[in-house]
Symmetry: C2
Subunit: 498 residues, 2 copies
């Protein structure tokens, strides 16, 4: 390796150590930390984040990156330098005072939001949201953009993304999804009540650990714990932490675990030699979500998967009735327009995202005033989902993102849904009868294909380039649309719309 | 607060954030970390430790401390500056190259020691121990001393301690303890076999959590997990982590939990306003050990304590026979000279420490060559405990400390034993019938007394000054000797030696 690139890599290993520390502190916060420890933990994370930021924007790091840029020879070295320079550019453009103010306001706004949601009190949250929108506007102006103010912010979460790109993505699916939901609403409802009960916690733990190991999550290089809001984090390629939760709905644990394990196998799939460097780990939120959704939905909600695991599920949960595979398959793929995004099914999910995306754009470009948010929110839910949230708690107050200062994040969820089907189409073309493999519990070829094409690439290529390399073209909603339509016509016995 | 002292405190809060990060990484390592994550974890800890050290020995920190020293006005401010200056002095005297070499050698030696102990292969460990002794000698020369080379090192673990002081301490107890052990060996052995079994893990968890909460460990500001070698750590006064282990011997979990909870209530007892400052937390290893031993031995192995908790223990573990309080009390206070320090009873424990202390002094002042260690070790075991270790694994290879580079640490264990009785004597003088309180499960007055006299003082006073304040004089083996003698004459039905 070029000595200058090596020097930059050493500096980034220091940055990585700070990140590992704050990530572990966050994992611990959400899993095991005692209730009274919050203030000290917040102080520690805040100090370490500041020291990390100071190290990152220092002249020394800038110098190391510029020198490395001149010497970088191999593709990997050039990629490493490119990733660092992009990060330095973002970090140095935003003044430290704005970073601090946004962090302070978000922290306060988050507490207020928790109260406001609990008490259905939008008026209380409104001034904080107004400030957050204003601070995000300022941030966007510092970052710069040529077309729409949204572009500057969403690029932070998904490199290369723009409002125009998201518009095109949503335009491709909006009407077909609204139509599909309407057709499903006409069909007889599916009964899934047998999935609700007082399920044994230990049995849920054992079953979910069994299936995430079955698909290839390596428990020697990771583990699963419980958290109120499941997430996946990692401190190295050899230390990937899943979380899940055990609730009345048996699917919460199963699909929560598979979802996080999808993120997990992506992280575990980076090359060992890239560990603790900027090349390691999933490349963007959207590509990451494509993998969580692949294992949760395309694999985990398939008939083939359950033809293998339903018998074991019945053995693990004697309280289940003697279900047929068809009954079970239909129950876990039940579609119903509902108020809460995180509980939404695969078909209505993107409609929840569209509402948020359109509102974010409006708040940023001032075509929508924050005071009108509840009204606009509810109107869009009527339009897309045919239902009206009875309260703001079940409406515009439900998500944590805005209270945390994050605007521009939501569309990456839909990108993940769409991309998951697009990548799966390629996988099927290469592997042939994938349903057969799943029914046989043969996940190694499936995981192996994804590792080779996606996971082993780490963050080397920008997301758009990775998608081109894997799929031979840009993000394309067609595989998603045809896949979802075919699947749910089957689930609901609808006449083919094609 | 004086602005200069405040500036120093802000700097030390940054140091504290690094310490919290590495402490959490260590806790996680010993509790939940996946097996393959070791290399990345070691790299992260090593980088953060280096950055911490660089921050500590920087000119900026030195300047802040010197300026604060001029302005410090209150007792608390002066204490804070004193603690920081002592730490800076120690840290700056040792060259970074020596710190790094010792860290590297210790890390390697630890791995070799694990193998050597498993294979009873002292020859393999010997060259590493020789290097460690040599590096410790160099460290001592950099730190400086006036009397014996041991003084420089042991002062790192126990401020103000010297070989001469430890000699005096051990001289005060050596012969009486050897004599007491000999008298006990003449008495009929106590049967404790009923304490060994396949005890339900969950019942052990519930019972130990119940008793540590009963004595006053606050689970809102802490928690208990399991670890192969139990320890207590903390990241703030409101985040104190205990660990325990569940083994065939039921006492492992019970006395392990009480021991760590003793460390824990000491840490939880620091004033809230000192949190994340150098004033917070237990003052030294010896004083800390006095509190773990108080709750483990003086409280946890008392008849009064079990008059309260034996019925609950029997309910929790139906596999126990229908014991009398006397039978149980005698069983948990069984004395038997044995090879392994960490399994030693309260009476023989200090004899194990004396062996190590004398050997450490000899290795450092070159009156003992490392190659002769096994022979000298076994000879001292014969002399003090009347037994000969059959292997080096059960002899001089048993402890982790030397392989980790630590020489000068062991005597603090004995100091803890001795000091626990000395402080308890004061407590009894103030509180009256303490047995009555324990039998009634009334630990609040006991904990309250210790909090007021010891825990709330944090690290404000040097250990010797704290002992004077609490006990009215220096460390004194008499209360320990008379307490232990009286107790075990009772347990073994010996005629009073007095």
């Amino acid at each position: 390796m070029s000595p200058k690139v090596e020097a930059l890599q050493r500096r980034m290993a220091e940055v990585n150590a700070f990140e590992a520390a704050t990530a572990l502190m966050d994992w611990d916060h959400q899993t095991y930390m005692p209730p009274a420890a919050g203030a000290a933990r917040a102080a520690h994370v805040s100090i370490l984040s500041r020291l990390l930021h100071e190290m990152l924007v220092s002249d020394e790091t800038q110098r190391l990156a510029e020198e490395a840029a001149e010497e970088a020879a191999t593709d990997d070295e050039k990629a490493l330098v490119r990733i660092v320079l992009r990060r330095l550019e973002k970090s140095t453009k935003i003044p430290a005072s704005l970073v601090e103010e946004k962090s302070r306001v978000s922290s306060e706004a988050h507490e207020v939001w928790v109260q406001a949601r609990a008490n259905n009190d939008f008026a209380k949250f409104r001034p904080f949201l107004e400030t957050i929108v204003e601070l995000n506007r300022q941030e966007a102006e510092h970052l710069g953009y040529t077309d729409h103010i949204y572009d500057a912010l969403t690029d932070l979460y998904e490199e290369g993304a723009t409002k125009k790109g998201w518009d095109a993505m949503f335009d491709g699916i909006r009407q077909p999804m609204v139509d599909l939901v309407a057709r499903i609403k006409e069909a007889p409802a599916i009964d899934n009540r047998f999935l609700f009960g007082d399920w044994d916690i230990d049995a849920q733990r054992r079953f979910t650990e069994m299936i995430v190991e079955a698909i290839g999550f390596d428990m020697k290089r990771g583990r699963q714990d419980t958290a109120p809001h499941p997430f996946c984090t990692n401190f190295s390629v050899n230390d990937v932490r899943l979380t899940t939760r055990y609730q009345e709905f048996l699917g919460s644990a199963i699909f929560g675990s598979l979802h996080e394990a999808g993120h997990g196998v992506y992280e575990q799939g980076s090359p060992q030699e890239w560990d603790r460097t900027p090349l390691s780990g999933g490349v963007s939120l959207g590509v990451h979500e494509s993998q969580s959704r692949t294992w949760e939905n395309i694999v985990g909600r398939s008939k083939a998967f359950w033809s293998r695991y339903l018998p074991e599920l019945k053995r693990s949960f004697p309280g289940l009735p003697d279900l047929s595979l068809d009954d079970f398959y239909r129950a876990i793929n039940r579609v119903e327009p509902s108020f809460i995004r995180v509980e939404a099914d695969e078909v209505t999910y993107n409609l929840h995202i569209m509402v948020r995306f359109e509102i974010e754009c409006g708040m940023l470009d001032r075509s929508l005033e924050v005071k009108d948010l509840p009204e606009v929110w509810n109107e869009k839910y009527r339009q897309y989902l045919g239902i009206t949230p009875p309260t703001d708690s079940l409406g515009c107050l439900q998500d944590v993102h805005w209270s945390g200062g994050m605007i521009g994040y939501f569309p990456t969820y839909s990108m993940g849904n769409i991309l998951s089907y697009q990548i799966w189409e390629q996988l099927q073309a290469d592997l042939g009868d994938v349903d057969r493999l799943m029914a046989d519990g043969q996940f190694a070829p499936i995981l192996g294909w994804l590792q080779e094409k996606v996971y082993r690439q780490g963050s080397k290529y920008p997301p758009n380039e990775l998608i081109h390399r894997v799929c031979g073209g840009p993000l394309d909603p067609k595989p998603y649309l045809s896949g979802i339509t075919r699947k749910y016509e089957g689930v609901y016995g609808l006449a083919s719309a094609v």
